[in-house]
């Protein structure tokens, strides 16, 4: 079947089977930041934004996304760049395989709640598994980013749409 949707700001039309998952669809479109980690909607690696809301693309049919807007990390590079540099400064990137899903969900968190507490961060990102870092380095990175934003006197970048 033919699927039309907006991928990272670009209107695309592509053929896909009715049972094609959004995960496989966007990867086939070159958005390889979207990773498969588990097949059972447990790991958060495949997080994308569907009309601005974070979803697990392993649990969404490409057909369901037809007519909607889908964003992957490929489309949010400039929004992510400053934030992720704080994660890099902690060494918390590690193997990196879970990073895109974690970054996508953090962007979603900061758009929704620009000044979250540690508990709010842990709760929002609870579905993003990481087997390398032990999570604390990611938290320190987010905290350092938010602090630097406050020092600059502006609202966190994550509030941009």
């Amino acid at each position: 079947m033919e699927i039309k949707l907006n991928l990272n700001g670009k209107a695309i039309t592509a053929q896909a089977d009715p049972d094609t998952l959004l995960l496989d669809f966007v990867r086939a479109q070159g958005c390889v930041s979207v990773k498969r980690g588990c097949d059972t909607a447990n790991c958060g690696l495949c997080t994308v934004l569907l009309d601005g809301t974070p979803v697990l693309s392993c649990s969404v049919l490409a057909a369901w996304a037809a007519g909607h807007s889908v964003q992957t990390l490929e489309g949010l590079q400039s929004e992510a760049e400053e934030f992720v540099s704080f994660i890099a400064d902690q060494g918390a990137d590690q193997c990196g395989f879970c990073n895109p899903g974690f970054v996508m969900n953090t962007i979603a968190l900061l758009r929704e709640n620009p000044d979250p507490t540690d508990e709010e961060i842990r709760a929002f990102l609870a579905g993003n598994l990481c087997r390398c870092s032990g999570y604390d380095g990611q938290l320190r990175g987010i905290r350092a980013y938010l602090n630097s934003k406050k020092e600059q006197g502006g609202a966190p970048r994550g509030t941009e749409q």
């Binding site: 760049e81 400064d89 990137d93």
Partner: protein, 768 residues
């Protein structure tokens, strides 16, 4: 006080990982991102039986599925047994595998390989293969495996290359013992003896990127293998054995790796696409599903460890007797070696006043998923047992377990009889304990406190050690060369699996060559391009490959100075290497590194390149102490870690950021092992935890807060005084949490994971 290098410019600094920004921004880096999608999809049909002989396989219908390019069964593979464990040849692991065997030995064992143009075609073909099995009785209980009439490996061509005590006619993958002094005599003379058996399960590494390999024939007709592996050179040799083709026909490289933790120290996925490419001549790729990873991966060896520890009334530990029964599953990967660490890396913690020890073991075959290498590699299992037994001893003696350990622990300069008589040249374990107790406020928090809501807060403690590389066996190498504009290329055969070894080795090179770390480009690992390196496992890369980097840099500096001497018309001994230039000590001129590099590429000049290898006769242990506070709900049995304090002696932390993250990651994996991660098989040999639905990994809401500190020592045989960090960090959570649960409930849990059900049953049982 230890010697601390104050003058380092790059080593000891929290340098960013060289690949950090590209990984964080999701750039293509991993196998599935960088290999062509239009290749054959490879899938494996897996056995539904724990033990069976294949009577007949009918692939006719499956072969007719449009898009199927090949279906291979046991009749299509070389009949030459090999081992899949990534170890230095001759491997201690027995040669007990064929790529496909007529006898299948666990639920999930490979029965047939399908190659197809699309995943859908491959899946359809899998369903249409008709197999008739002669089901056999299976050995599922590892207690009854030894000398069981049912043999997991009755075949005559089974063989063990090393004298590890293996005997396939007894279901033995290995057995042996080591001792010093009269253990039974000393134990009989002890005032107090604690004897218990501890049981750890087959946890999964659960790295986020599953096993995966891409293969093709290169323009020379050689087998080009791109694999998510920690061990490119071992993969090359093992594929040569499995496929019965010469090593010279194989080229193995790795892209970025999405985590390994030891799982990718075994050749799990590589053989299947490699066989397909050799059969069809076409590119092929196999990507394990998470389910396959869970049921046919290479998890931790399940072990049962019996500890007898004896002490006098004052708390002097005099003797320790450890017996380990290890379950290697259907194949012997890492079986003979992991078991050794359960004694050799637990007993030596108490070298202080130990008069005698004995360590003996059996490693048995069963009809279960084959085990492999997982961070900690047997030390984790042994340390859970020995540290728990010492905590039980402290309770029996009514001595503070911290004081008991301070009285008995190994100290710097001591010889460790249970650790191959190695001497602890660098050991800050005592300082780790004192600092950890101070930071944690052990004195006050070790007393359990009931909260107003009825929940109980309680604390636990454990120590740990590991090694740094495999002494006298494994080899690390590095090539460093001077590039046109005065920068350097560092080529290694070790594999950065996310730990940051590319970066820390570049830091060492930059320190040696007196240049910024950005001036060192790192490449690895590729069997055609890299100097030989055993690979990234056994906590070896910092310590072993790091020394190779130091040596190669020294050698390159000599070459640079020799060429500079020629250019300046003097002797090399008149010169000083100072990073950007080489200058005469008498002030009579200098030549820039750029000019030396340019000169080396024009006319005849010796190559400005050096390759050095290193192998260490010793494996200096890192040490650490962990203390945990938990909150336990006596109504539900649930246990929540609130705070974990860990103080680590890894020698010199080369990159404190990355060492800290290693520690935090290891602690959280250890918390998972202690509290929920489990692999259980039913009466048919089927694994229940075959997805992340059932196999729970810790989330960021499950681990409480972590505090990590370092107590540096200086290891004289290590690069810049460094030891290892990667594995030791998973070892303390299980015994420390079990200890805290005892302090909260009065019940010792000697089997992992300690689930709410077990905690609650323990409380109810005790109340009766």
């Amino acid at each position: 006080m230890p010697r601390v290098e104050q003058n380092n410019k790059v080593v000891g600094r929290p340098v960013r990982k060289k690949d950090a920004m590209r990984l964080l921004l999701g750039k293509p880096a991993y196998l599935e991102d960088v290999t062509p999608a239009g290749c054959l999809v490879v899938k494996v049909l897996r056995s539904p039986h724990a033990h069976a002989l294949i009577r007949e396989i009918n692939t006719a219908a499956a072969g007719k599925v449009p898009g199927v390019a090949g279906i291979y069964t046991w009749q299509d593979v070389p009949q030459k047994r090999y081992a899949q464990a990534g170890q230095t040849y001759p491997e201690p692991s027995p040669y007990d595998r064929l790529i496909l065997d007529r006898r299948v030995r666990f639920v999930g064992d490979a029965v047939a390989i399908v190659a197809a143009e699309t995943e859908k075609a491959a899946d359809r073909a899998l369903k249409l293969i008709k197999v008739q099995y002669d089901a056999q009785p299976a050995v599922l209980d590892f207690h009854t495996a030894k000398d069981n009439p049912v043999l997991v490996h009755p075949e005559e061509d089974w063989k063990a290359l090393c004298p590890v005590g293996a005997d396939n006619q007894r279901n033995l993958c290995a057995c042996g013992s080591d001792s010093a002094g009269d253990v039974d005599g000393v134990l009989a003379d002890c005032d107090v003896v604690v004897e218990h058996t501890y049981h750890t399960k087959a946890c999964q590494q659960a790295m986020m990127e599953t096993f995966r390999t891409y293969t093709e024939l290169d323009p020379y007709g050689r087998l080009h293998v791109v694999s998510s592996t920690q061990i490119v050179f071992h993969v090359r040799r093992i594929l040569s054995h499995a496929l019965d083709i010469p090593v010279s026909r194989i080229h193995v490289e790795k892209p970025r790796i999405g985590g390994g933790f030891g799982a990718k120290q075994t050749v799990v996925a590589e053989v299947y696409p490699a066989l397909v490419t050799l059969k069809t001549g076409r590119p092929a790729r196999m990507i394990y599903t998470r389910r396959e990873c869970q049921i046919a991966g290479s998890p931790r060896h399940e072990m049962e460890v019996r500890v007898r520890v004896g002490a006098d009334r004052s708390g002097r530990i005099r003797a320790m007797d450890v017996y380990t029964l290890s379950n290697t599953g259907a194949y012997g990967e890492h079986g003979p070696t992991t078991v050794g660490l359960s004694g050799h890396k637990s007993i030596p913690l108490y070298s202080g006043g130990l008069e005698a020890f004995r360590f003996s073991y059996d490693v048995v075959y069963t009809n279960q998923q084959a085990a492999g290498a997982y961070r900690g590699y047997g030390a984790t299992q042994g340390i859970f047992a020995v540290e728990s037994a010492v905590n039980e001893l402290a309770a029996k003696l009514a001595i503070d377990p911290v004081q008991l350990r301070l009285r008995n622990m190994v100290r710097e300069g001591q010889t460790m009889p249970a650790y191959y008589n190695e001497k602890a040249l660098a050991c800050a374990l005592d300082r780790c304990m004192l600092r950890c107790a101070e930071r944690f406020d052990w004195e006050h928090r070790r007393i359990p406190r009931v909260q107003p809501d009825g929940k109980i807060r309680a604390a636990g403690v454990a120590m740990a050690m590991q090694g740094s590389g495999i002494s006298g066996v494994d080899v690390g190498s590095a090539t460093i060369k001077l590039d046109d504009q005065g920068g350097y290329s560092l080529t290694i055969g070790a594999a950065d699996m996310g730990t940051g070894c590319d970066t820390i080795l570049a830091q060492m090179a930059a320190e040696c060559m007196d240049c910024p770390v950005d001036d060192v480009a790192v490449f690895g690992a590729d069997t055609d391009a890299s100097p030989y390196d055993s690979g990234s496992y056994a906590s070896s890369t910092t310590y072993v490959t790091g020394r190779a980097v130091e040596k190669a840099c020294a050698e390159l500096k000599r070459k640079i100075c020799a060429l500079a001497a020629e250019l300046l018309g003097c002797e090399a001994s008149d010169l000083e290497f100072s990073g950007r230039q080489v200058r005469r000590l008498d002030g009579g001129g200098a030549v820039s590194l750029t000019d030396i590099a340019t000169r080396s590429m024009c006319g005849t000049a010796p190559a400005m390149q050096a390759t050095c290898s290193h192998s260490s006769p010793t494996s200096p242990p890192p040490f650490m102490v962990g203390m945990v506070e938990i909150e336990l709900d006596p109504e539900t049995g649930s246990v929540r870690p609130l705070e974990y304090v860990a103080v680590v002696d890894c020698g010199t932390p080369i990159n404190p950021n990355l060492a800290r993250i290693q520690t935090e990651g290891g602690l959280v994996q250890g918390i998972g092992m202690a509290l929920y991660e489990n692999v259980t098989t039913n009466a048919l040999g089927q694994i229940a935890e075959n997805s992340f639905m059932q196999y729970k990994l810790p989330t960021r809401q499950d681990m409480g807060t972590l505090h990590v500190e370092f107590e540096p020592s200086y290891e004289p045989t290590g690069p810049f005084g460094a030891k290892s960090i990667g594995e030791i960090v998973i070892n303390t959570p299980s015994p420390a949490i079990a200890h805290a649960i005892y302090n909260a409930t009065g019940v010792w849990h000697r089997e992992l994971p300690i689930t709410p059900e077990k905690v609650l049953l323990g409380i109810l049982h005790k109340a009766k």
